[in-house]
């Protein structure tokens, strides 16, 4: 990975493209960020070629949603970029009518949406803010571990940071698992024995619970329960209690015991 964060812009309106270019270049220069505007183009395909040519690069992308007359639209372009660059920071710049917030959120997980209708000043402010956020995240993620967790649904892979994962539990019906995240519950198809093998960072504390030990806040030895910050609890098997406590001690996790 090269040291500097690459920035890309695809905007089919030449005037707006020029404005965006200017905002981005100025902001990078003023803040003296370790970034550069690698490509600013009107052609979606040009960006895709560039990304394909440098598959391990990491970038910040400002994309429009609709490119009239072109084979690719913003959604397709963004999902192709995501395939190459898992950590891509994607910002959609478009009119309100074109935005499909929920759809994009679900499929692309963009960094931000910038609505053009709000006027030149607002757009400028948001672009600058996104540059700062992207740069901050880019420099920080090198230091902290960026352990990821993924699950699949209907042939589609969903990635999320491991620090979001609390535990996995067997569902009410056969072959269904329930993934408990900090602010989300996800049901998906799978077997807990397979997940135990697939995710060595998680610990099987019970025949129906696979837990992320980093997220436990309290373990009640007497009641054989584990507690999380939001109040959710899990059962811990007697046989596994000893191993779990050993693991907590070894990794020096901040878990209260009683």
């Amino acid at each position: 990975m090269s040291g500097l964060l690459k920035t890309f812009v695809v905007e089919d309106d030449p005037e707006q493209l020029a404005t965006l270019k200017q905002i981005i270049n100025n902001h990078i220069m003023i803040n003296d960020f370790d970034m550069c505007l690698t490509l600013a183009t009107g052609e979606a395909q040009a960006l895709l070629d560039e990304v394909n040519a440098h598959p391990d690069s990491e970038g910040l992308y400002f994309l429009d949603i609709d490119y009239p007359g072109q084979a690719l639209n913003g959604l397709e372009l963004a999902s192709k970029i995501r395939e190459q660059d898992v950590n891509a920071k994607i910002v959609f710049v478009s009119t309100h009518a074109e935005m499909a917030f929920l759809t994009f959120e679900r499929r692309i997980e963009p960094l931000d949406f910038i609505v053009k209708d709000l006027g030149q000043a607002a757009v400028k402010e948001k672009v600058e803010k996104d540059i700062r956020i992207a740069y901050e995240r880019y420099t920080k993620q090198g230091v902290s571990s960026k352990a990821m967790f993924s699950y699949s649904k209907g042939g589609q892979l969903f990635n999320l940071p491991l620090s979001q994962v609390l535990f996995i539990e067997t569902g009410m019906s056969r072959n269904k698992l329930v993934l408990h995240l900090v602010d989300r519950i996800v049901q998906y198809n799978g077997k807990i024995s397979d997940e135990t093998v697939a995710h060595p960072e998680l610990f099987r504390v019970h025949k129906s619970f696979l837990v992320n030990p980093n997220m436990l806040v309290r373990v009640d030895k007497q009641a054989q329960l584990g507690y999380f910050e939001n109040g959710e609890t899990i059962d811990i098997a007697i046989r596994k209690m000893h191993d779990l406590l050993a693991l907590i001690k070894q990794a020096q996790l901040p878990v209260k015991l009683n």
């Binding site: 499909a100 929920l102 759809t103 679900r106 649904k153 269904k176 995240l181 602010d183 519950i185």
Partner: protein
């Protein structure tokens, strides 16, 4: 309590009788002993049940136990041949006091199992021990026999009680499953009835205990096969009825959806006509020189023009949704929401054809989710509801989202039945949604509440 010297086990008693053959007096003595013996066993089973089930710890239960014991003693002194069955039935009589279904089953299971173990295994074990030590069954060793026998029996029963406690603790979920519990209870009842029928027969016709075992296996097998066949037939019948009802439901739902769509189209056509009529009417009125009529007309038309441009029935992207069930429910609920002043948005970037889910289920689920969303957003000043249909190569996801005022801490609690969080307005139906979606192999769901509440249904194409 002084320990009574009694021939506790019926077979042994018969054996003794045959060996000694001392006539009527000894028979009376044995009857008396047997009565005390059963008294002991009945008390033991009762105490065990009271020990397991807290619900039974009340005065009238204790009184009943004593009354039963006295009654049994009297009964046995007169007639001893069916004592086992009588004891068992009296034991089950204790269940009269059990109100909680869960405990009812635990108690009855304990009574049945302990009684079987008690009569059959205890008997066999004692005989074996005596055989191993080469002790005869004369008058003296009878004492010893009785003590060893009762110890073993008590141990057996305690083992049953403890194992039930453990089972109940370990498999709490299975104990709350009514169907499974009923099946287990039925099976055990069958075994118990078979056992008592055969032992009584064996007692009365002097059949050896080896043969007794075989008889019992055969009887149990026959009863279980009968029961199994019945259950199979019953379930296949209910399944058929259910399938029929579902197809009926679907047909009616189709009719409803078609009616709804055509009435919306009629409404739109009428709106269009009405606007044209107003326009031409305006032309005529402006051509006249009645100024009062002119001002009145302009006032009225201005008003109605305003409400006409606000089309409650039209939503962007709705035409992309070709799944009739989904389209109808969105049309319906979005109209309700819009009339309540809630902003609604529908996202569908690609046309969506028939989804791989039963249309009635989909309608029920999305109806509940949208009702919840409307309920939650109503009280918000600037509330919004959005639905997105997201297409993947092998899957379609339906995202139902609405704005929230305060974050929801415990999403898992929203999903459990009976948990209603009126303030948020999502508790009511989510348990039903879960009930409807859980059995479907190709459907999974997610719910999140970060900046907004969202419920995502993922439907994999089959």
């Amino acid at each position: 309590m002084k320990y009574t010297n009694g021939g506790h086990f019926d077979t042994i008693r018969l054996l003794n009788y045959r060996f000694s053959g001392e006539g009527r007096t000894i028979v009376y003595v044995y009857w008396y002993i047997a009565a005390f013996d059963h008294w002991y066993s009945v008390m033991l089973v009762f105490m065990l049940q009271i020990l397991i089930n807290r619900e039974l710890r009340q005065r009238r239960v204790y009184v009943t136990v004593v009354m039963m014991a006295l009654l049994l003693t009297g009964l046995y002194m007169w007639y001893d041949d069916y004592s086992d069955i009588a004891t068992f039935i009296v034991n089950l009589g204790l269940l009269w006091f059990v109100r909680n279904k869960k405990f009812f089953i635990v108690t009855s299971l304990t009574a049945t199992l302990s009684y079987i173990l008690f009569s059959y295994f205890g008997n066999f074990a004692t005989e074996t021990i005596f055989h191993l030590f080469g002790l005869g069954l004369d008058q003296w060793s009878g004492w010893l026999f009785e003590i060893v026998g009762e110890t073993i029996v008590t141990a057996c029963m305690l083992a049953v009680a403890i194992s039930f406690q453990i089972l109940y603790k370990r498999h709490a979920r299975q104990f709350t499953d009514e169907v499974l519990l009923n099946v287990v209870v039925c099976a055990l009842a069958v075994v118990a009835i078979a056992f008592f029928a055969i032992t009584t027969a064996a007692d009365n016709y002097n059949i050896g205990s080896g043969f007794l075992g075989i008889l019992m296996i055969i009887l149990v097998a026959i009863l279980l096969i009968n029961g199994g066949t019945f259950i199979y037939l019953f379930y296949s019948y209910t399944m058929r009825v259910q399938a029929h009802r579902q197809s009926l439901e679907r047909k009616q739902y189709d009719i409803y959806v078609n009616n709804l769509e055509s009435s919306y189209q009629n409404l739109r056509k009428f709106r269009h006509d009405y606007q044209n009529i107003l326009l031409s009417l305006g032309e005529y009125i402006h051509a006249t020189d009645n100024s009062e009529l002119k001002t009145y007309f302009d006032e009225v038309v201005l008003q109605s023009q305003k409400s006409l441009t606000r089309d409650f029935g039209h939503f962007d992207n709705l035409e992309r949704i070709k799944d009739k069930s989904l389209k109808a429910i969105i049309q319906n609920k979005f109209s309700v929401a819009r009339q309540a002043g809630i902003k609604v948005r529908l996202e569908a970037s690609e046309p969506v054809t028939q989804l791989a889910i039963d249309p009635v289920t989909l309608a029920r689920v999305s109806g509940i989710l949208l009702d919840n969303a409307i309920e939650a957003v109503k009280s918000q000043a600037d509330g919004q509801i959005a639905v997105a249909v997201v297409k993947y190569p092998k899957m379609v996801e339906l995202v139902f989202a609405n704005s929230i005022q305060a974050p929801i801490a415990r999403l898992d609690e929203l999903m459990t039945a009976g948990h209603t969080s009126k303030g948020v307005g999502h508790g009511q139906g989510l348990a039903t949604v879960r009930e409807l979606l859980d059995p479907l192999d190709n459907v999974t769901y997610e719910l999140g509440a970060r900046d907004q509440f969202e419920f995502i249904i993922s439907i994999e194409s089959e």
